[in-house]
């Protein structure tokens, strides 16, 4: 039997596949080699290897659980940071929209001075929070963040425009607004995810200032594009029926 076909070795190799991909790529081959070294030592010393095999499989399984939990925690943290900042920006806007003044600032000034910077910080902070993640894990975090923000933005926009307060009914049905809301949501969520990924790539390359400039710059472009699209939709879209003559 070839060494590579040894059933215990094959089983151990299969067990190692349960490690997170990045860990396996980095240490999988070395771990298999070390396991074989330990087995050989047992065999050469005339001690039985059954107990060792059970112990090694159990110990490695504990390691798999630990590494998987830490990997998931890193992705969860990388997702929570940008979502938390976006939620904070929305909460600040929501409060300021109901007040005339917030401290010395009127609500428009507060929007530009506080809400927009917090929003712009979201993709930049995400890029830095993903520093310890693999490219694949960063992509997963970006998809999660983009999908959540797209969905929430689409629903909020749809709720704002689908039911205008018209005495004689609206010119468009709520169903007419589903597709435009989805497009706008995708622009906002996708734009933030792309900005975060760009920031993350430059952070990985060890160029933090370029990462900040590019992440915030891309997000500014995406925000203005979304504002432009929203403005056009508001001009062309919603309206009330004229009173019957």
């Amino acid at each position: 039997m070839a060494d590579g076909d040894d059933p215990v070795r094959v089983l151990y190799r299969r067990l190692l596949r349960r490690y997170p991909r990045s860990f396996r790529a980095r240490f999988g081959a070395s771990m298999e080699q070390t396991f074989e070294d330990l087995r050989r030592e047992r065999r050469n010393s005339g001690r039985g290897s059954f107990g060792f095999i059970v112990w090694a499989f159990a110990e490695t399984s504990v390691g798999i659980v630990r590494e998987t939990m830490m990997d998931n925690a890193r992705v969860a943290w990388g997702t929570a940071v940008p979502l938390g900042l976006v939620a904070l920006a929305y909460a600040l806007w929501w409060v300021s929209d109901r007040l005339l003044y917030i401290g010395p600032l009127d609500r428009a000034a507060f929007g530009w001075a506080v809400v927009v910077p917090v929003w712009l910080a979201a993709p930049v902070a995400a890029g830095f929070a993903w520093r310890g993640l693999t490219a694949r894990a960063s992509n997963i975090a970006a998809v999660v963040v983009g999908t959540v923000i797209s969905g929430v933005a689409a629903v909020l926009f749809w709720r704002a425009v689908a039911d205008p307060d018209c005495a004689y009914g609206a010119t468009r049905t709520p169903a007419d607004w589903v597709l435009p809301s989805m497009v706008l949501g995708l622009m906002i969520g996708g734009g933030l995810a792309v900005s975060a990924l760009l920031t993350s790539r430059f952070v990985h390359q060890g160029r933090p200032w370029r990462a900040v400039a590019l992440g915030a710059g891309t997000e500014i472009v995406m925000v203005f594009a979304a504002i432009l699209v929203t403005g056009m939709m508001m001009l062309l879209g919603p309206g009330c029926q004229r009173p019957p003559v």
């Binding site: 860990f23 980095r26 240490f27 081959a29 070395s30 771990m31 298999e32 080699q33 070390t34 396991f35 070294d37 330990l38 112990w55 090694a56 110990e59 490695t60 399984s61 504990v62 390691g63 798999i64 630990r66 590494e67 310890g132």
Partner: protein
Amino acid sequence: MTDVRDNQPLTPAVFHILLALSSGDRHGYAIMKQVDADSQGRVTMGPGTLYGSLKRMLDAGLVVESGERIEPAIDDKRRVYYAISGAGSQALGAELERYRRLVELTSGRGLTPITLADG
């Protein structure tokens, strides 16, 4: 994970790995053997603990991968050698200093394993 910047105490696994590497570069199996010898068989590390600790130590800059092959003719290419870094040496030194102070303190109070065992 131990934060080197805060000079926090090292975990037993990290301490023993640094101690094993302080006398030369080693691959995973050789680290295990050295830890076993240093601790007189009291610390047993499996592949899961060893490589999980090495990953965190590499990320924290306590150890580095060494390109050296101690025995290139017989070494399998899957064997990766690890070396202690400057930060790792500092962390190990700080830990040993902590132990030294502790021994000094307990000796000053007349506490030894024998007096404690006698009650």
